[in-house]
Amino acid sequence: MKKELSFITVIGLDKKGIVAKIANLLYLNDINIEDINQKIMESYFVMTMLVDMGNSKVSIDEIRAGLEKIGGELGIKIQIQHENIFTMMHRV
């Protein structure tokens, strides 16, 4: 199966359970986590996850809805975007 890579970006205050909740949602939908990074930037806690949606059981819309629900519960912003946009914007 061809890889379909997307980035999940988490922005907000660091809290217990962020990774656990997101990872659980991804696991339940057959989405593999390829890479995780995190950093404090401009007083934001920022975490990025590179995920492969090639085998995903659901569409990116459904995952976005799930992520937004988690974001709402934890008071953080979570965004998912296909990898192409980052490659286009940041690589010449």
Binding site: F7, D35, K39, M41, L50, I60, Q79, Q81, I85, M88
Partner: protein
């Protein structure tokens, strides 16, 4: 090379906090193949072709919004200049009927505005062109989504003053026939109008275009302003570099989405228009960019230099980012659609004279401003002639979208809301150009047109 956390954060932050979006995707549709001697069939074919293709645009754009997490704010359609396809159906009531068919097709497909109800009259008017202009007050009052344009000059043809002189009376009539003169907000007069401009109200599908073409307009000024705000102390060259890099990135997003959308719709990709276009959203303002450069209020001295610096950097960054740059590609400074521009007018920092000078270094022209309803028609014609002369002589696109609001005086604010925003009524110079404009005829093509 893998994308770093910083890079992911930069893009995500643009979307979440700085109104990063794809401003418009505009599908150009050729209507010449719809012409039929039976007018009822002709209208049906126009309706069907627009509705079918516009529906595909709306559906496919939604999929990409989801994939990239970036809003595609406007999905629009431009069509072949309507006067051209109406040449053999030259009757006043037919122009209104055709406009209503086009309006209905846009509404049924979920398209907010559809451009192209206009004519190319830079050298002269055909019977159809003249009839279209005559029909505009009624068309603009009785349709909701149809946008109209005229191209009345070019640096090759000069400026058709006879056509300009038709516009003042037409606008005054349009203003009387529509609520708060809103019909005038859907009409633009150009010189050197590009045939692939994706931005309303002046978009049309040029005669040199293919059957269908998808053009894209990039994101607004919110992202640029936030980057400038983070670079308060850099000099002009460094500021230009910052602007170039940012425009490069936002244009790349437009290039990606535009090409993928065209591929998914199976239509040729046209151009990316790299214009920075304001919206009524707070912060999404070109005026605020200029002010973040260090000018107290746009319109103050230094503003023309600031807009010139911004324009040049936007073009340099954008040109590197896309294989096909086109349309207007500059920076828009509409009054009503930009909260910073409105504030500057109300503070007395920006008047019509300075606005005109700003347009000499930026696209597109005097845009979305109000004038008192009792402004004489010949004064409106002279305002238009001044602005368009800048375009003809300097080999650039210029345009005017002016709203003479009945019963309103300088200093008033007319509230439209939505995409059109609030229109301040600006002071007009009271001295007359009547005898000058009455001369009519054609402003000859400038000497710079002799390039062969």
């Amino acid at each position: 090379m893998t994308i770093t956390v910083e890079e992911v954060f930069e893009t995500a932050r643009m979307t979440l906090y700085h109104n990063f979006d794809i401003r418009t995707t505009t599908l150009g549709i050729n209507l010449k193949d719809c012409i039929d001697s039976d007018f009822e069939k002709f209208k049906e074919k126009v309706y069907a072709k627009i509705a079918r293709n516009a529906r595909s645009l709306v559906a496919e754009a939604a999929k990409l919004e989801s994939k990239y997490g970036i809003p595609i704010v406007n999905k629009r359609v431009s069509v072949t200049p309507v006067s051209l396809i109406m040449e053999t159906h030259c009757a006043p009531d037919k122009f209104l009927q055709m406009a209503q068919s086009i309006d209905r097709a846009a509404a049924d497909a979920g398209i907010s505005f559809i451009g192209g109800f206009g004519a190319l009259v830079q050298k002269g008017l055909t019977r159809s062109d003249a009839m279209l202009i005559e029909s505009l007050p009624e068309v603009l009052a009785k349709t909701e989504r149809v946008c109209a344009f005229l191209n009345v000059g070019s640096n090759i043809a000069g400026l058709n003053i006879d056509a300009v002189n038709l516009i003042g009376p037409m606008l005054k009539k349009t203003a009387r026939e529509s609520l708060n003169a809103i019909g005038c907000a859907k009409f633009v007069v150009f010189v050197n109008a590009p045939e692939d401009n994706p931005f309303m109200a002046g978009a049309f599908h040029g005669v040199g275009e293919s059957d269908l073409t998808l053009n894209v307009g990039i994101s607004g000024p919110g992202v640029v302003r936030s980057v400038v705000a983070e670079n308060r102390d850099c000099d002009f060259t460094a500021l230009s570099e910052v602007l170039k890099k940012t425009t490069f990135k936002i244009t790349r997003a437009g290039e990606l989405v535009g090409r993928e959308l065209a591929r998914n719709m199976d239509v040729p990709f046209g151009v990316v228009d790299i214009s920075l276009a304001s919206t009524t959203a707070e912060g999404d303002s070109v005026a605020r960019i200029v002010e973040s450069f260090g000018i107290e209020k746009i319109g103050g001295h230094g503003s023309t230099c600031a807009i010139a610096l911004l324009m040049d950097a936007v073009k340099k960054g954008g040109a590197m980012a896309s294989g096909n740059i086109g349309g207007l590609s500059g920076t828009f400074i509409p009054i009503s659609e930009d909260s910073g521009m409105i504030a500057a007018v109300q503070a007395g920092a920006l008047g019509l004279d300075k606005l005109e000078s700003l347009t000499s270094v930026c696209s597109v022209g005097l845009d979305m401003f109000g004038i008192p309803g009792d402004t004489p028609a010949e004064t409106i014609n002279a305002i238009i002639a001044d602005e368009l002369a800048i375009g003809v002589i300097n080999n650039k696109t210029t345009a005017v979208r002016v709203i003479p609001v009945p019963g309103r005086v300088a200093g008033d604010l007319v509230r439209y809301g939505g995409l059109l925003g609030d229109v301040p009524i600006m002071k007009v110079n009271p001295f007359s150009a009547r005898d000058f404009m009455r001369r009519g005829g054609r402003f000859p093509a400038p000497v710079t047109s002799l390039r062969n």
